[in-house]
């Protein structure tokens, strides 16, 4: 069963083409790896999948209503004047908070729980932001360069988590320069020349 179907979508910005006539589907329990050079529109495509950005032409359809989506983009959505725990409390309500705190420990962040988030290193902030995805079960997981800045052990943790979610029927769409250890469809975005 398909979760999302893109039908001949194009995106132009200031009359410049980013991509053109793209068609694909994302099925339940499968992963889509979006590849392409810098500026080929990978992040934009993810945002179109999420429904944040509207494609200039074509249609993107969410086939299943009430799909629960989790997303982590370039921006971490972390309040840097709060401690990590306070941040998690803002994101999660009662039910998922325990699992969030569990991940917090497994990712080795308990050392910094009393610091404010601004003092965390880049990798630590990234881990903290990833908990948003890890601790909340979702039908569709959308990740923009999730492996950047992570150390090997947390990279393995993330890979394992994604593997598991897919086997339980969730879908995944991600961009990554590092090849993820997940069997996935690949979508190559070519750099469009504007002549």
């Amino acid at each position: 069963m398909s979760l999302i179907a893109a039908n001949r979508i194009s995106y132009t910005i200031n009359n410049k083409k980013l991509f053109h006539n793209l068609s694909f589907t994302i099925d339940a329990g499968s992963a889509l790896h979006i590849k392409g050079g810098n500026g080929s529109g990978k992040s934009t495509l993810l945002r179109i999948l999420l429904g944040i950005t509207t494609p200039s032409k074509g249609k993107i359809e969410l086939l299943k209503p009430n799909t629960k989506i989790t997303y982590l983009g370039h921006k971490n959505a972390i309040k840097n004047y709060l401690t990590p725990i306070e941040n998690l409390k803002l994101i999660f309500h009662q039910s998922n908070l325990e699992s969030a705190l569990d991940w917090f420990q497994r990712l080795g962040l308990s050392r910094v729980q009393d610091e404010i988030s601004a003092n965390l290193s880049f990798g630590q902030q990234k881990k903290l932001a990833l908990i948003r995805v890890l601790a909340a079960p979702a039908d569709l997981i959308v990740l923009d360069e999730p492996f950047v800045g992570l150390d090997d052990s947390s990279r393995n943790l993330l890979n394992k988590y994604l593997q598991e979610s897919i086997s339980t029927g969730s879908s995944l769409a991600l961009t990554s320069h590092i090849r993820p250890e997940i069997i996935s469809k690949e979508l190559m975005l070519e750099n469009f020349s504007n002549d």
Binding site: L50, G51, I52, T53, T54, I69, T70, Y71, G73, H74, K75, N76, A77, I78, K79, N80, Y81, L82, E86, L90, H93, R132
Partner: protein, 216 residues
């Protein structure tokens, strides 16, 4: 809804500079004005309200200038968007939090300073209530302005929203006059309550549309 409201309140409370700064500036302006002018107490009583009103205008502009900037830049806004039915509530909660944490104390400061200028104690609740309502209107309006310009700074905000703020200022000035003269207060009050409720419920919708445009 209460959950969103609580977390907005929590975040703003943690940002001392954002809410305490404007209030201190307001106190400074209201103290500096009488010191900087060489006129009698009688004349001062006539003019001082105008300064309080202009201070309300400026400080509410100042305090809402970056109201959505932080959430826009750190990506929280995108995350809120994904739970789309919450976008209106989010904006509403945010603006109301600002009104409660900055607007209400501002109205308090304004009314205290109006006592110092020959308003009797009995009239203070009226003054306070009126200033609170005009702050509600102004915060909504300037929140709209800052959602338009998000990271483009104050000049744009002034140009885009100051013209729209003038009716509120006129209404507030009119209201203060009715208190000084002791007649017609209820009429102005009813108008302010009505427009306050209307604006406070419609503006978040417009702001949501604006923020969505920014996210695209």
């Amino acid at each position: 809804m209460i959950k969103i409201f609580q977390s907005e309140f929590f975040k703003l409370r943690k940002k001392l500079r954002t809410w305490l700064g404007p209030l201190l500036i307001m106190v400074l302006v209201l103290i500096a004005f009488p010191l900087s002018i060489d006129i009698s107490q009688y004349d001062l009583n006539r003019f001082y309200f105008s300064i309080i009103v202009v201070a309300l205008l400026m400080i509410s502009f100042l305090s809402t200038e970056g109201i959505f900037l932080e959430d826009y830049e750190d990506g929280s806004l995108e995350q809120v968007y994904l739970v789309e039915q919450d976008f209106y509530k989010f904006v509403l909660a945010k603006v109301l939090t600002f009104v409660l944490l900055i607007g209400v104390p501002m109205a308090g400061i304004g009314s205290v300073f109006s006592i110092l200028n020959g308003i009797s104690i009995n009239e203070v609740p009226k003054i306070f209530f009126m200033m609170f309502l005009s702050n509600l209107l102004l915060f909504n309006l300037f929140a709209f302005g800052s959602s338009l310009s998000i990271n483009k700074g104050a000049i744009l905000g002034v140009l885009a929203t100051l013209p729209l703020a003038l009716p509120i200022i006129i209404l507030l000035g009119r209201g203060v006059r009715t208190i000084q003269h002791g007649i017609g207060f209820e009429g102005v009050m009813a108008l302010m309550v009505g427009s306050g409720l209307l604006v406070a419920s419609i503006t978040p919708l417009i702001i949501s549309a604006t923020l969505k445009t920014h996210l695209e």
